[in-house]
């Protein structure tokens, strides 16, 4: 029977924590950018769209390098975060969450943007004529209608975060108990002479986790569809 060791549990817990925070960061920002890209026409739309998608096409190591340059203890943003909030993100699990969030961001934006583009703006216009302010229209009409897209974005971002490797190891290194998530733990085990068996156990764990996430998302998607269409 599969009974995880404390080290394996630690990596699993850390992975879930990092992925959870990564989604939490990505969701509001992703929603905002998805809405801007779907609804607003402005000079530089294509450029913004490209920048949002950069993490998808750049080598993760490059993203990790950028994050390290910006957010290290004495980097331009890192200095500010430390002085203003006493927050150090380089080489901590918070940093791992940020790295994951950046990598997952384009996936979140894409999923939500698609669903926003599918919302009939006529429904929003109808809501306005019924006396609803733009803000009320957004949370009472737009938001419920794009909830399947938001769900898809959340699942994609969560899954992407669980698998994040390159940017994480570059930015926050591979510190046991702090930044060594499942993929990093597998990598470490494969670097040790007799770690193959241990790596295989973590591989199985990863597969189970991924499958569970997909099943939950499928279930939620069906429920959301039912709620919208009745």
């Amino acid at each position: 029977m599969f009974s995880p060791t404390p080290l394996e549990l630690e990596a699993l817990y850390l992975s879930l924590k990092v992925a959870f925070w990564s989604v939490l960061i990505t969701l509001p920002v992703g929603l905002l950018f998805a809405w801007i890209l779907a609804r607003k026409k402005f000079y530089g739309h294509a450029l913004l769209n490209s920048i949002v998608h950069l993490p998808l096409v750049l080598p993760p190591v490059v993203i990790g390098f950028f994050l390290l340059s910006l957010l290290k203890r004495h980097g331009p943003v890192g200095e500010f975060l430390h002085d203003a909030f006493g927050l150090t993100v380089a080489f901590t699990w918070q940093g791992a969450a940020i790295a994951s969030a950046v990598m997952a961001f384009p996936l979140m934006v894409r999923a939500i943007r698609l669903s926003i583009e599918n919302v009939d703006t006529g429904l929003e216009a109808a809501a306005r004529t019924l006396g609803a302010s733009p803000f009320r229209v957004f949370y009472s009409i737009t938001l419920p209608l794009i909830s399947p897209g938001i769900l898809a974005g959340v699942i994609l971002a969560f899954a992407r975060s669980l698998g994040e490797f390159g940017a994480t190891i570059t930015f926050v290194s591979n510190i046991p108990g702090e930044t060594r998530t499942l993929p990093l733990a597998i990598f470490s085990l494969l670097q040790t002479p007799s770690g193959d068996a241990g790596a295989l156990r973590l591989v199985v764990l990863s597969i189970v986790l991924a499958l569970a996430a997909l099943l939950v998302s499928e279930y939620l998607a069906v429920r959301a569809k039912h709620r919208i269409e009745g």
Partner: protein, 371 residues
């Protein structure tokens, strides 16, 4: 009540329009598809911003380009019934109805939830989602939803266009009911002349974004020069009549109008009920002498006062029989009978040429029993 003036360039056409609508009446914006009707009510609703113009409801200025006034749509208190219903798919009928519901009285009387549900006969649908409604049911819910927002006036954009022909008669009485029950001012956009004749008090005829004519339906429909716009097939005079007598043996009613009585079947209504009769020009034939031994029940004597000749094989004639009557004849008959302005003719109209579509107006004729 409503007063607008717009000047706006769209990609395909230009809207240049001014009109007024009276309180408590149904004003129809009539025109072919693509003449800018929807654009006009979008501008009234505040969904599109006109380049130049104004919108006034009563003494309330909702838009004025010269003064920089542009009240956002949610503060205009105008009800808008869209062609495609636009019910919110994630809400059931009850919550759709309540979405914009206010409890303030507008026309001195509050439009309550129970009353709307009762008048529109949607009580059985309240817990359903919009996907499970028929086109007619959706449109009734959309009407109810707009009514409950206590609008100062109601704009309807071809509310019957997306509904099966058979189901249209399900909605028409409800729209008549709105004006009569709630005293609402209605702007009714349509490209179907029979809806306009049945519902509207006044019509504004649109072509290419501007007004070709404006006035009472009877007056507009009797103008020969407007037939290309009002539609040649259904062209014909519209008479204001009152029910004058009814013969139950033959189910035959006499409708009195200025100039005589029109006999039609299937109208069992109280004496004095105002009705509007649409006599299609193609249903009217002419004779030079008073016909004898004819099955035709309606024969009117009158003088030809106008000849509409567009050069085709058919001509439309306007005949003064006390009211204006239109008749369509072939060029051959026109020449053979030597017809011309000033000539006296006898116009024959078959009583069976009338159906429910050609009779309508101030009061609903036969209402469903559920109301």
């Amino acid at each position: 009540m409503l007063e607008i003036s717009f000047n706006h360039n769209f990609a395909e056409f230009r809207v240049e329009l001014e009109f007024k609508a009276e309180a408590g009446s149904i004003t129809s914006l009539f025109g072919r598809s693509g003449t800018g009707k929807t654009s006009v009510i979008n501008m009234i609703a505040g969904l599109t911003k006109p380049e130049i113009g104004y919108v006034k409801v009563g003494s309330d200025v909702l838009f004025d380009s010269t003064k920089g006034i542009n009240v956002p749509p949610e503060q205009r208190q105008l009800g808008y019934i869209f062609q495609d219903s636009r019910l919110f798919p994630h809400l059931n009928v009850r919550n759709n109805l309540l979405y914009g519901a206010k409890s303030s009285a507008i026309n001195g009387q509050e439009i309550t939830f129970d009353r709307v549900v009762d008048v529109l006969d949607i009580g059985a649908l309240l817990e359903r989602k919009p996907t499970n409604l028929s086109g007619g049911e959706k449109q009734r819910v959309a009407i109810g939803r707009a009514l409950l927002s206590q609008p100062r006036l109601l704009m309807m954009d071809e509310p019957l266009a997306s509904i099966d022909v058979q189901l249209r008669s399900e909605i028409l009485p409800f729209i008549e009911e709105l004006r009569d029950t709630f005293g609402l001012t209605v702007i009714y956009v349509s490209h179907a002349i029979e809806e306009v004749i049945r519902l509207a008090d006044k019509m504004v005829l649109l072509t290419n974004g501007s007004k070709a004519a404006e006035g009472d339906v009877e007056e507009i429909m009797s103008r020969l020069d407007l037939h290309p716009l009002t539609g040649r097939f259904d062209a014909g005079a519209v008479l204001s009549t009152k029910v004058a007598s009814y013969d139950p043996e033959y189910d035959l009613a006499e409708l009195a109008f200025e100039g005589g009585n029109l006999r039609v079947t299937g109208v069992d209504l109280p004496m004095g009920t105002p009705l509007r009769a649409h006599i299609r020009a193609r249903d009217v034939s002419l004779m030079l002498e008073r016909p004898v031994g004819t099955s035709v029940l309606n024969v009117f004597e009158g003088r030809i006062i106008e000849v509409g000749d567009e050069g085709g094989p058919q001509l439309d004639l306007k005949i003064d029989i006390g009211s204006a009557l239109l008749a369509r004849v072939t060029r051959k008959s026109f020449n053979d009978l030597d017809l011309s302005v000033g000539k006296t003719v006898f116009a024959m109209v078959k009583a069976v040429a009338f159906d429910r579509r050609s009779l309508g107006g101030q009061i609903v004729t036969k209402r469903p029993d559920s109301i």
